[in-house]
Symmetry: C2
Subunit: 713 residues, 2 copies
């Protein structure tokens, strides 16, 4: 499923992934618009590890990565299932990612007395490393093409509904088989919008501990105004350690630290997990994004941003509770505004239309592609049905009408029981057997929940539900039970027992009779809307199958016509991108390829050290100690998108030279089209990380470990 994810749990994950760590952007910016040439760019691509761009690397950069080189980078790369990327940087399982990727864990550690997200954290000893509540990390171990097996399960002539069911079933079967055989997390990944199916096997870490985080003020210096902007001065890092059997994980593949950073025009690689791109979409699909989904999503984000900001202003503890959610919403809002601006740029849409016309013409002209000629119309037809059902889907199944962690938990419990009774292949996808551990990790999280905050979100989203579906709809009236949204939210949150993890476990382990006996108002609510929610999900899943089949045909046309090796749209699975370290020109000014630490102090000064341009006290105190000429952030033409946050940037030698944390404002179009004129990926320089750890944080233990010394005691 695309749209807003499948189950509530998946929705939450999608929220995290695309709403929160979407650290790249579109906005053609200047008044005259930007010429976006279609066609090949030397540095384009989020390449599959089993189909790397050897030819381009060879011809453009005279670089031929060996299989060992690729395997090393692949296995040093880490996926944060909360939404983001990272990499191993010591043999003792030390992992570096972004502060804003770690923020989810930092938030969950906090309470009224501790605000690690704001104040930072540094474990001086192994014993002080703090175990994250529900963080799962994945390391890609192997990829296997299972396209033929998946497609063979779909009987020729099967209607879309039957085809969807057959495909879901075979995917669950392949995954279960692989899990049983290898013990590895096994996911069948849909690539090229349905053109290929690959089985990804991951080594999974669920004992992950926090080692170090700077203050959010310096990690996210400049706040929302500087987000998706460059030049930048952010120390957007966070360090974790993977544990196995209660001990630091011993890893073979970890990246060696470069103490010399990058040079201008150098070739660099980015290995990470881009979440979602829309480059292969047809014009009909893009128009749907432009005309319905983007406006809808922005409305939903705007109201949440206002809600959370107003709540946060009421006091310090409110601000702490809402911090991470608010950041996610603001980040997503700014990214989507940029993407939407791109969709509204006639040049971008014009280029997409022209390319599509060319492809369709070619398909129509070649007899062997005749079968594919109808694919575009099929997508357009499916899109009409999707559009007609999107509102119901978003509100009832996507969870926008019940925006509360407690409701997500209620739905997970309710559906777990229902789905468990079915054969593995017939379950809703997130309840497949091979996903069970991950689901339970999330469901039984000890994440702190606050009645007032849950009520706030739920009351607001129930209001949104009424607004969107209308007061008179039977399902709305059932949800509200004769009360106003605020009164109903208060009653539900106060009344539920799901705040207790023990209750969740008991109900989850029990049966339908146990659920009914609990008389929990949120469980009852989840049950009361389940028929409608499942029904609209089914409609969407069927249409997605129609689209998958059509996209598979278009993929064949593309390959037949363009005859070039290519890469699929992003799917939050591991990809290899590459590019050049390189500045750009903006409104006539040359923007340098990297900034220096001195710039941080200059920017704070020019804003009188006022939020969000205020420095942590520690940075003010240690200024004299720092070498202010140390490179801080740099840009490159590597092809990235949200989900790439925390990806390591490595050089030809496979050394860690930096960490991706953002894209500039001009990069937001990358969702739809690659351009290297002015779009740039923004990274923290490896040198700045060492300099800060040593001179600002007195963290020689970590700096040492990064540079090859033993880990702290």
């Amino acid at each position: 499923m695309r749209h807003f994810g499948g189950s509530m749990r998946e929705t939450r994950l999608v929220f995290m992934k695309f709403f929160k760590h979407l650290k790249t952007a579109l906005m053609t910016g200047c008044a005259a618009g930007v010429m976006i040439p279609m066609g090949t760019h030397a540095n384009e691509g989020m390449w599959l590890y089993n189909d790397p761009p050897r030819q381009i690397l060879k011809s453009v950069y005279d670089f031929a990565p060996t299989d060992a080189w690729l395997e090393h980078i692949q296995k040093a790369s880490v996926r944060f299932n909360s939404g983001g990327s990272g990499s191993f940087v010591s043999e003792d399982g030390l992992i570096i990612s972004n502060h804003h990727v770690g923020a989810d864990s930092l938030q969950k550690f906090g309470d009224a007395e501790h605000n690690y997200l704001r104040d930072g954290f540094h474990a001086l000893t192994q014993a002080e490393e703090k175990r994250c509540l529900d963080l799962e990390l994945n390391v890609l171990m192997s990829i296997e093409d299972v396209t033929e097996r998946v497609n063979a399960a779909v009987k020729p002539g099967a209607d879309a509904d039957a085809a969807f069911k057959a495909r879901r079933s075979i995917m669950a079967e392949i995954e279960k088989e692989s899990l049983d055989k290898t013990g590895l997390r096994s996911d069948v990944v849909t690539l090229y919008q349905g053109g290929r199916y690959h089985l990804y096997r991951f080594k999974k870490y669920t004992d992950v501990r926090l080692v170090f985080a700077p203050e959010q003020q310096v990690a996210f210096f400049g706040g929302d105004p500087d987000n998706f902007e460059y030049p930048r001065f952010n120390l957007d890092i966070c360090l974790f350690r993977a544990y196995e059997n209660g001990e630091p994980a011993k890893v073979q593949h970890y990246l060696k630290w470069s103490s010399s950073g990058v040079t201008e025009n150098e070739l660099v690689f980015v290995s990470g997990h881009p979440g979602n791109t829309s480059r292969l979409l047809t014009v009909a699909d893009l128009e749907y994004l432009r005309d319905y989904r983007m406006p809808y999503t922005l409305q939903f984000l705007h109201r949440q941003e206002v809600l959370l900001t107003a709540y946060s202003q009421r006091g310090e503890e409110n601000a702490r509770r809402a911090r991470e959610t608010l950041f996610g919403v603001q980040n997503s809002r700014k990214a989507r505004e940029g993407k939407f601006a791109g969709l509204l740029d006639p040049q971008l849409m014009g280029a997409k239309r022209a390319a599509e016309a060319k492809l369709r013409q070619a398909a129509a002209a070649q007899p062997e592609l005749k079968d594919a000629a109808a694919a575009w119309d099929q997508i357009e037809q499916a899109q009409k049905i999707i559009k007609a059902n999107a509102r119901d889907f978003n509100l009832l199944e996507g969870g926008h009408g019940f925006h509360s962690t407690l409701f997500s938990i209620a739905r997970s419990v309710v559906r777990s029981l229902e789905e468990r009774a079915k054969p593995n292949g017939e379950r809703l996808r997130e309840f497949r057997e091979s996903n069970r551990e991950s689901l339970e990790l999330s469901l039984f999280s000890e994440e702190p929940l606050y009645d007032d905050f849950e009520q706030l979100k739920l009351a607001d989203s129930l209001t949104w539900l009424v607004e969107q579906l209308g007061s008179e709809r039977a399902v709305v009236q059932r949800v509200l039970a004769g009360k106003s949204p605020r009164a109903r939210a208060a009653e539900l949150v106060r009344g539920t027992q799901l705040k207790e993890v023990a209750v969740r476990k008991r109900l989850y382990a029990g049966d339908a009779a146990g659920l009914a006996a609990a008389k929990d108002p949120l469980i009852e609510l989840a049950l009361a809307i389940d028929v409608e929610a499942r029904a609209v999900r089914k409609i969407m899943e069927t249409q997605d199958e129609v689209k998958r089949q059509a996209y598979a045909k278009i993929g064949k046309v593309k390959f037949a016509i363009e005859k070039t090796s290519t890469y699929p749209d992003a799917t939050f699975t591991l990809r290899l991108a590459f590019g050049t370290v390189k500045g750009y020109v903006e409104e006539g000014a040359q923007i340098p390829y990297q900034t220096a630490m001195a710039g941080l102090y200059e920017r704070a000064d020019s804003h009188k050290n006022q939020p969000p341009f205020d420095l942590p006290q520690r940075w003010i105190d240690r200024k004299a100690k720092l070498d202010l000429s140390t490179p801080f952030n740099f840009v490159s033409t590597a092809d990235i998108i949200g989900g790439n946050s925390g990806s390591p940037v490595v050089n030809r030698q496979g050394e860690f030279v930096g960490i991706i944390f953002d894209g500039n404002i001009q990069s937001l179009v990358l969702d739809y089209i690659y351009t290297e004129e002015v779009a740039r990926a923004v990274s923290v320089n490896s040198q700045a990380i060492l300099e800060s750890l040593r001179k600002v944080y007195d963290a020689e233990d970590i700096a040492g470990e990064l540079t090859g010394k033993p880990m702290h005691p």
Copy 2:
């Protein structure tokens, strides 16, 4: 017109009035909902000065205001045409209103070096009093019932379109006649949704000078979190002086200052200009508000709040430029959220339905009311047409698609020329001859405009236009001229010459050929959409006429059935309300009727003096000088709504005991229904004003003038 006002200029005024000074609120608040008893409340009513509630005052309070008492309060009351109320408080034309009413003028005085809105202002001498750029004040001199003459102009059997035109024409004629005869601003006011027409004559002041304003931090202490809340600690005041012929106006009617404030359970009066209420609306009209207008308006406000907040965060000067607009948006958002919550409360709608059913039954049963029985259905029918056209109306005519002061100016210039050529009675209402001076005051204002801020708002609203009307609409494509919204906004703002008042004056004085010759892109845009904008306005005006006629019939039914004296919905004209100074119970706690100055310091302390709970330095420095037991803010049951901001609160002796500046959160329902259980009007106490002026601001000159001494030199 209701909806969002007529012309752009009127729209701006309506924005000001209802979006900004809407200082009252609905929110049944607690989980169980609030019982809202229908029927009479002792203290209900926003009464007409020519039909005061003598009987109730006599029977409940044993108070019989004399004609002289009423005339005195009436003529001491001042309307701020920027949206709000005030009163004369010295014989030398000194006027007190709220800081948030004066904020519009304070904002316009500012530049990169001066931030009067934030920092406050105090003219030590008459020469230092600063003339406001475009502020018009009105004092009501007389009321005349012209209902018969207005209705007589509408021929029996005329269709709604003809009826509307006839009514517009006769109103313009009456106004012009009155202006010529008396020299007073003359407005025919539509009351009871069309049941009555009264001619209001106002003395007009256009030379108004700023005398004193405190810092916004203390005027709006607690910011958005405390807005519409109580207990409160706000010094929400601003002092102006009316001038005539370059000298301070000598006024006969001004309020004497009470140095003893209020006592619990005391009867008080509020004389001000409530902007808009919806108490007499039919259920069909209320459902339209609930199902369409409120959600739409909140979406529009949410996106603006996010836009303006993000812009403000970029730096101090940005924050200054956007401050007043942002405050208005936030204020309106919070008010509307509360009102919307009321409309979503089944108890409120249930009560409205029951009352309407009773009335309809009575109408159907009485032969002499037969004619009225269809009125409710007529309103419902009209409402359907209004709903179908509301989107176009809001975007194209209401200005939501072109949210920029420069565009408003362009449209005013374009339409002034077109309308001037028509007979007075056939013009769009805001271009009637009697409104000419007010229109020119606004059009030729030297208000500072900033390219970046204008572009920001225009780009955002053009995006909203595309979102709402769709990329494919011809009018949208004409507006965008093949560019993206951002590119188009940049081009329009950079290209227009209307930033120069001299250019506006020249074009305004000229003709259509002059307009065309100017080749001004904003003028061209205003011209390019004028046909569509006028067309949709005509549809709405016609349906409003249908509703006016139907409401007139319902008014007759109400009077025949209820046989009680009543008051019309608010119309931003002078009304007299009254009530008791009285605390209330909230979630079991007794909320006191007034707060003391000590509470301000306690609240700041409990929030560590962090924004928006931070005190101005002056207040910290002067704490020891203050008598902290001085009463600060108090609540009463007086019936108020947005527009009442700045209204004087007077006692039986007609003395100024306080100034209205807000309603509590429970008062937001007053838009639809009066309740005195927990809804309260919030005022600054007269004693706190004197104490602050003397001890914090060393403003003995002003304190002296308020207490009867001569004005400063």
